[in-house]
């Protein structure tokens, strides 16, 4: 059993890439990557961070922050989440995009790109399984 992060990294090779959303409980966020291309992060708003390919700025993935808080608020306001098992990423993008902010216009191209990921479903049972 490894006793440090460095030992763990040396002892365990990464597996093959899978494009599935993952929830990380320690930071209450989820990530979704379309590919395993190397990328950098660009904070879009309080909820969404984009992962972009250096040089081309092609969308590689996204991070949604404050997942539990958003789902709790949605439930409190009676927003139907289809039983709560599968949640579309579009719900989270909407929360970030909805406020009418002064900096919204320059970001519209990114929100347009995120629409392509809106139908991706996140299995909220990961709340119980992850971390």
């Amino acid at each position: 059993m490894e006793t440090s992060l460095n030992e763990y990294l040396k002892a365990n090779e990464p597996g093959p890439f899978r494009a599935v959303p993952h929830y990380f409980r320690s930071g209450d966020y989820l990530t979704y990557f379309l590919s395993d291309s190397v990328c950098y992060a660009k904070r879009l708003d309080d909820v969404v961070t984009l992962y972009l390919e250096p040089g081309t700025d092609r969308l590689v993935g996204c991070k949604v922050k404050g997942v539990k808080q958003i789902l709790r608020s949605a439930g409190d306001f009676g927003i139907d989440l289809d039983g709560g098992k599968q949640v579309r990423l579009g719900l989270f993008f909407f929360v970030g995009a909805a406020p009418d902010r002064a900096d919204r216009e320059p970001k519209m191209k990114w929100y347009d790109l995120l629409k392509e990921l809106s139908a991706v479903e996140f299995d909220s049972s990961q709340f119980a399984l992850c971390g």
Binding site: N12, P14, G15, F24, Y29, F33, S35, D36, C130, G131
Partner: protein, 143 residues
């Protein structure tokens, strides 16, 4: 050495007041990243030790729900820990980008819950662009 259940020690990290405390990472979450990728992000965890231990800046408050007291350690790595040869060990792994490690206070230290690369600020070495608006405040800066 006592280690919190389910955590792996990263090393001692710097806090804004100059003290040092143990930093950890969640083993299950690292397993998830290792199994499904992306592999580069899993591999980039090797930069966490230098980010928390020898940062260029520390920011407090992540401007997201329930993370008002969380920290972000930022560093422009000047070498790659995996490059052991003389030629590669002094080469910054990514020009124009800084490495960020996000952590939250836990029972026995801080837990790093995420890390990423961002474009470097034009004026401040080792700072991400838009650091003035992306974080509540800069809590520490390398002298």
């Amino acid at each position: 050495m006592l280690v919190p259940f389910g955590q792996l020690p990263i090393g001692d990290g710097l806090l804004p007041d100059g003290s040092r405390v143990p930093f950890y990472i969640d083993r299950n979450e690292l397993d998830t990243l290792r199994l499904d990728g992306p592999a580069w992000k899993y591999d980039d965890a090797r930069f966490l030790e230098v980010a928390i231990g020898d940062p260029d800046a520390i920011f407090e408050g992540l401007r997201r729900p329930n993370q008002t007291a969380s920290l972000c350690h930022a560093v422009f790595p000047t070498f790659d820990p995996d490059e052991t040869d003389e030629a590669g060990s002094g080469t910054p792994p990514r020009f124009g980008f800084v490495f960020l490690a996000f952590s939250a206070l836990a029972d026995m230290g801080h837990v790093v819950f995420d890390w990423e690369w961002r474009t470097q600020d034009d004026d401040e070495q080792g700072h991400p662009e838009n650091w003035q608006t992306d974080f509540v405040r800069r809590a520490w800066k390398r002298a």
